[in-house]
């Protein structure tokens, strides 16, 4: 295995539950993702897949354990440094597209680039729109696009800053089979083309099986499949 780009060590995440002891969702997860690799995680609903993905992406903090990216511990980074890391090295795709309804498809894709630098990379945003087959819809607002199109725009948005790793949380969960297949293939093609690592959380075993490494989250622990 190549040297780990993203490493999770002994990740524990518990949540307070009213009137009861804390609920431990993740019970000591170790996971390493190397550059350009595709890692999938499956598990039943409520097993903590999304929580694990959020912790790996620096959106949530573990109760115990460490997450490091290229050897740097995330917990030692300031808010500004963590934000910069998410902006330039991480890309997020969620089950729901979460596009900003006040912006066009093109502007939504451009947004991470604007956050990175006021002189945004419009060329790359346009290129990605073409790659997801929506250049003709660049000036359309989210309410003018279909579910599959929205998710394709979300993929392009996650890729605009050429991140090292894409965190995809059930990206096809809201789509019908045909669109789900189309979106998944597109995600694989683009991440493969640009050598992005991909951490995919999904219910779809077929998609999960195509990963370089597949895991199942079961009772708070990862089992390699």
């Amino acid at each position: 295995m190549n040297e780990a780009m993203l490493a999770l060590k002994g990740i524990v995440r518990s949540f307070p539950v009213a009137g009861k002891e804390e609920l431990e969702v993740l019970k000591g997860i170790d996971l390493e993702i190397a550059r350009g690799k595709f890692v999938s995680i499956t598990g039943i609903s409520g097993s903590g897949k999304s929580t694990l993905l959020h912790i790996a992406g620096g959106l949530d903090s573990p109760t115990r354990g460490d997450v490091s990216f290229n050897g740097k511990l995330l917990r030692e980074l300031s808010d500004a440094e963590q934000s910069e890391l998410r902006n330039t090295n991480f890309g997020f795709i969620f089950q729901f597209h979460y596009l900003i309804k006040e912006l066009t498809a093109f502007e939504n894709i451009l947004l991470p680039s604007m956050i990175k630098n006021p002189k945004e990379d419009r060329e790359r945003a346009g290129l990605l729109l073409e790659e997801v087959g929506l250049y003709a819809r660049k000036d359309h607002y989210p309410n003018q696009l279909s579910g599959g199109e929205l998710q394709r725009v979300a993929i392009a948005r996650a890729l605009v800053n050429s991140p090292r790793i894409i965190f995809a949380d059930e990206p096809t969960g809201e789509l019908d089979n045909e669109n789900a297949e189309k979106v998944f293939r597109m995600l694989l093609d683009i991440t493969g083309k640009y050598e992005h690592s991909l951490l995919l959380v999904t219910h779809n075993r077929e998609f999960a099986s195509e990963a370089d490494e597949s895991y199942r989250l079961h009772f708070g622990l990862l089992e390699k499949i």
Partner: protein, 406 residues
């Protein structure tokens, strides 16, 4: 373009329709009404103060020189020496004292000014306020009386007026009777200050000296007019070495200290009360932004995931307050300035003006510095300070909770 400005603009524009739009509109209107009221009211108060100042110093001097030992012995010589100083526009001897005016069987009070008709216009606006006659008409037993006094006495040009001095003379029979003088009305003055126009009488300085036995060629004071009316202290320091011991000086600010302090205090309190309107509008801004933050929780979460710093989120919502403040201030300032200009151009008459109030028309004076700038800066500062609270709250929203909120 900075993404915060870009998103803030889009979020602001997106509030079309609905309760949030209504609250936002109310906030804008609140700021606008506050700014408008402040500009109009303070401009009227400025106009009032300036008009009053002009009238007060128009009929009186900028600097008064008096003597502790009765009158000034050589007022004309002293005036000539003072006039040679830089920045001195004029110096003229003036005497004044309270007198009684006999009108048939009734007697009323007044103030008699003994003036030098040749030089009085170098120190006051006496000639400007004369509605009938010329300053030189007071020579040889002539008098100029206030317009209200003329009405009260039903006196006209060339009518006789009898002035009674508090000084007494002893008759051959040994009786003590007040000194009187009969003057011919040669002119009427109207300053617009009711109190002045109702009681002021102007006569030649020598007629005054005869009536009061103050000695030929003397004056109770010397009026001095200067170039910069707010630098009286500097001029008084320059004049002081020219005066012999026993003379003292007072300026127009000292003489009218209570009046101008009251005006200044009134303006400050009025400004403070009107700023409360903007303060209340500021509270509306908090409501508007809290509601917007609540509506945009999901977007806040996704922006954090895309790499926006918490300070970036804060700026987006701070800008919402800035937009409300800027639009409200711009509307208020525009409407306020237009209103002030219209009041000025239309010469709006005050009901009862000239009788109940000393003014005939509503005076206005727009002061960009400091008034307009302080109002604009104050309204913007209140908008931003009140936006800070909800903007800080927005910046602390947990991205995961925000995304799951959906």
């Amino acid at each position: 373009m900075r993404y915060q400005n870009f998103l803030a603009g889009r979020f602001y524009k997106s509030k079309k329709g609905g309760f949030l739009s209504f609250i936002s509109f109310i906030s804008v209107i609140g700021i606008a009404v506050g700014v408008f009221s402040l500009i109009v009211v303070l401009s009227v108060m400025n106009g009032f103060t300036e008009d009053l100042t002009e009238k007060v110093i128009g009929t009186k001097a900028h600097i008064y020189i008096s003597s502790m030992y009765g009158g000034i012995k050589d007022p004309f010589g002293t005036a000539e020496r003072i006039k040679k100083l830089p920045g001195i526009l004029g110096a003229s001897p003036v005497s004044s004292s309270e007198i009684m005016i006999r009108d048939g069987d009734s007697v009323g009070g007044g103030i008699l000014f003994g003036i030098d008709p040749e030089s009085i216009d170098t120190v006051t606006d006496f000639g400007k306020y004369l509605i009938i006659g010329e300053p030189r008409d007071i020579k040889d037993g002539g008098a100029v009386i206030g317009s209200e006094l003329a009405l009260e006495l039903s006196a006209g040009i060339n009518d006789k007026i009898t002035l009674i001095s508090p000084n007494v003379k002893v008759t051959p029979s040994g009786a003590m009777v007040p000194k009187t003088v009969e003057l011919t009305i040669k002119g009427v003055i109207k300053t617009g200050m009711y109190e002045y126009d109702k009681s002021f009488i102007y006569a030649d300085l020598e007629d005054f000296n005869d009536l009061f036995d103050t000695g030929k060629g003397t004056a109770t004071s010397l009026y001095v007019k200067i170039k910069d009316i707010y630098a009286t202290r500097r001029y008084m320091d320059m004049i002081s070495p020219l005066l012999s011991p026993g003379h003292y000086m007072r300026d127009w600010i000292d003489m009218n200290h209570n009046l101008f302090t009251a005006l200044k205090t009134e303006k400050f309190v009025m400004g403070l009360i009107l700023f409360m309107i903007i303060f209340v509008a500021g509270i509306n801004i908090i409501n508007t932004i809290v509601m917007l933050v609540q509506e945009k929780r999901k977007e806040i979460g996704i922006l954090r995931a895309l790499g926006s710093r918490s300070s970036g989120i804060k700026r987006i919502f701070l800008l919402q307050g800035a937009y409300i403040g800027a639009i409200g201030t711009a509307i208020g300032a525009f409407a306020g300035i237009i209103t002030v200009v219209l009041i000025d151009v239309l010469n709006i008459r005050i009901p009862g003006g000239g009788v109940v109030y000393y003014l005939d028309v509503l005076p206005v004076r727009l002061k960009v510095l400091p008034d307009i700038l302080v109002i604009i800066a104050g309204a913007m500062a209140i908008s931003l300070v009140f936006s800070l609270l909800p903007a800080s709250w927005a910046s602390r929203i947990d991205p995961i909770k925000a995304i799951r909120h959906e």
